[in-house]
Symmetry: C2
Subunit: 438 residues, 2 copies
């Protein structure tokens, strides 16, 4: 096993949070990594705009430092390039550059893999190099390994996830403390959980990119983020949690990919989830993924969504796998995107399946409100289940909730559209699915 | 990629529950498996004592049937042998026979891998064949893939599990319905959850074998089942759930492997777990594994513990991985057992760390009982936290509970030992740790 003792060399591009976490792990855990692999994994080169000012962890040995990523992707002593810069423009150049130089690639880049993952994989396969992307979704949860290997023999029927830690932190803080979204968001920003521009987190776009990647892995389809229905958490208020609790539920931003007779339904949206479910127990900045398999039935995975070290674990685990494959052979020959080639792929964001709905209104108090709303529901043949009203914080704007019996989404949307013209409404109705099939 | 189109051939030994589930999956899911792999996986031979009477699923193509496993392990058209017979004697012969014939092996055999896994792995590595054992622990949870690949870059600090579905089913039914253990066990037997001899499930030995395998994978040590402290659920009664609930807890059979300053603590034992924890939400025949990593922190995995199809998914996923490795190279060169070789390995089942305890008594009602028990606790310098007494079902035997402040296990055992001589006790005290570090 003399060949096995030869080291595999890693070049890291990007020394931000994830890059630093990765270096820490590779330095501190070097001995155990070498024992597990049967050979050492060495960092031979790093690249960052401010590389000279960076303090690298002790124990790495001599490392070439550069501000030019081209030096990393063409370096003769780099076998694997870890692309940890994020974004889609330079990152794509780095990955393509590495592939051209026949270097294997490990990436943590969700945006890029969600938008061009299929093309990048095809290029990597043609070049005969290896590509790994565990860190691109739910940093702390090894969900790629699970889908790629652990349950690869199953057929996934549905996959649900809480994939954005920031919005889950905000929702669970609103729930616990009754604080409004803006206040919790400001705090999340102070704690470093939220970006300067919170839109990607709050409006569901970050979660949507992650769902696009996971759904591609789970269903073997090429999934474009813009195919996915997205609704963020901006309109959720602490009062919605009060009503949801009254109904035995809580609210979470649920990413869902589900095979139905209508096709593959893809959505990111807040939904009411039973308080007793395991997924309702996902608190704070944690992420979770729930997979339903035709044969293996339910499996559930939970862990940190982000953070330098949890994401570093994903990067290092990928580096180890790719290093092993470089040493002993490349087992990956089929793209995880679009391997199904099942003919024309029809993603859907609206299902004809029925589901109960929670409709929350804010109105000017006056007679005839329930009659008007119930009239529109009746016109749409929607059966009213319950009307709830909790004591209101303000006199001027009266909140209340109507729940309706299982109805298809199209019908609910039409009803909400009609209601939006009613002059007593202070804002458009908020419609959330209740216990969507999980 | 013409080489890639060549099929890999599987021989299956054992057509019981798991073998039949595996065949069903390989037949029904053949097209998707071939798309994922880039080549077909074909069943070419099967072996079972009653092989002639077996109806094989449609779509498998021609399959050689035999009652002699030697034909499978030496068959020129078998690349991978799936050992699905269970037990330790014939199973060991089958696996060793396959290795001698340079066939790769997939096994679902927890007993064998727990007792001789290390030796079998060494033999497989010397022979240059591949060995996979995902189905040997928690059939429906891909925990081997997680430890081997998904979080391989982390250092596991602790691993906890609910690894025996039958005992978890019994505990959660006792909890829900207040039924005694014997009654629920009889029912589990009728439902096919429990074996004719329930000892392996009820007394914790099945869970212990699984913990031995998972701890070996997590810590890279060779772990012998007999090194693991084991206490089953026989002494738990519905009344213990009533007391536990009163204390905000439930009771689960917890498998634990934890690195401490004393060494690696290994135990299988019932414990009080906070009702709000995710692990308390594991109901019925489900299994769960909780891993704490030094870098990646908490991750949690949940799924079916057994069943022909969930376990079949694990077998088929292993077959796919091994087939890929046969086609494109063998990445596995280091045993998952004992790769650490960290010198003399010291497993411990008693820790010097402190933990609160739940002590439940059944006594003949008379004056001076609390004084006598409190006296013994005081002698041992154990601080009493609370005394609870719920209305009793019987007059003759009065149950009550004492909880004590964090104390080390050794001290509790001594106290329980001293108490056992008190003549008012109807049975020895039941001592359960409360919220052991999770």
């Amino acid at each position: 096993m003399i060949a096995g003792m030869q080291q595999v060399n890693v070049g890291i591009v990007g020394l931000g949070n994830v890059g630093s976490g990765t270096l820490t792990l590779l330095a501190e855990n070097a001995a155990q990594i070498a024992l597990k692999l049967g050979f050492p994994l060495r960092v031979t080169a790093v690249c960052s705009r401010s590389v000279e000012a960076k303090k690298l962890p002790e124990g790495l040995g001599p490392v070439h430092r550069t501000t030019d990523w081209r030096e990393i992707v063409s370096h003769p002593e780099v076998d694997i390039v870890a692309e940890l810069v994020g974004g889609t423009s330079v990152a794509a150049e780095i990955i393509n550059g590495a592939i051209e130089h026949k270097k294997s690639v490990v990436t943590a880049n969700k945006e890029l893999m969600a938008s061009c993952g299929s093309e990048i994989w095809d290029r990597a396969i043609r070049a005969g190099i290896n590509l790994a992307m565990e860190a691109s979704v739910a940093g702390g949860i090894p969900i790629h390994a699970v889908l790629r290997e652990g349950i690869s023999g199953d057929r996934v029927v549905a996959l649900y996830g809480i994939l954005n830690g920031t919005s889950n932190y905000i929702l669970t803080e609103m729930e616990k403390r009754g604080a409004p979204l803006d206040e919790v968001l400001a705090e999340a920003h102070r704690l470093g959980y939220a970006e300067a521009d919170p839109s990607a987190d709050i409006d569901g776009f970050d979660a949507r990119s992650k769902l696009a990647i996971l759904a591609a892995l789970a269903f073997g389809e090429k999934i474009t983020p813009s195919d996915i229905f997205v609704e963020g958490i901006r309109r959720i208020s602490p009062m919605d949690f009060q009503y949801a609790h009254k109904l035995g539920h809580t609210i979470r931003l649920i990413c869902a990919a589900r095979q139905t007779s209508d096709g593959l339904i893809l959505s990111v949206r807040p939904a009411l989830i039973g308080l007793e479910t395991i997924i309702a127990g996902v608190q704070g900045a944690y992420n979770a993924v729930w997979v339903k398999g035709r044969y293996g039935q339910d499996t559930f995975y939970y862990g940190r969504g982000a953070g330098p070290l949890p994401t570093g674990v994903a990067v290092v685990s990928d580096l180890m796998r790719v290093a092993r494959e470089i040493r002993y052979g490349h087992p990956e020959r089929v793209s995880p995107f679009a391997h199904e080639r099942l003919g024309e792929y029809k993603p859907r964001s609206v299902t004809s399946e029925k589901c109960a709905y929670y409709l929350r209104f804010r109105v000017d108090d006056r007679p005839g409100i329930i009659a008007a709303l119930a009239g529109i529901l009746a016109e749409q043949h929607i059966s009213l289940e319950a009307v709830l009203q909790l004591p209101s914080e303000t006199k001027s704007s009266l909140p209340f909730v109507i729940t309706v019996e299982p109805t298809c989404e199209h019908t609910i949307r039409e009803a909400v559209q009609k209601m939006s013209h009613l002059d007593f409404l202070r804002e458009p109705p908020l419609a959330l699915p209740m216990e969507p099939p999980l």
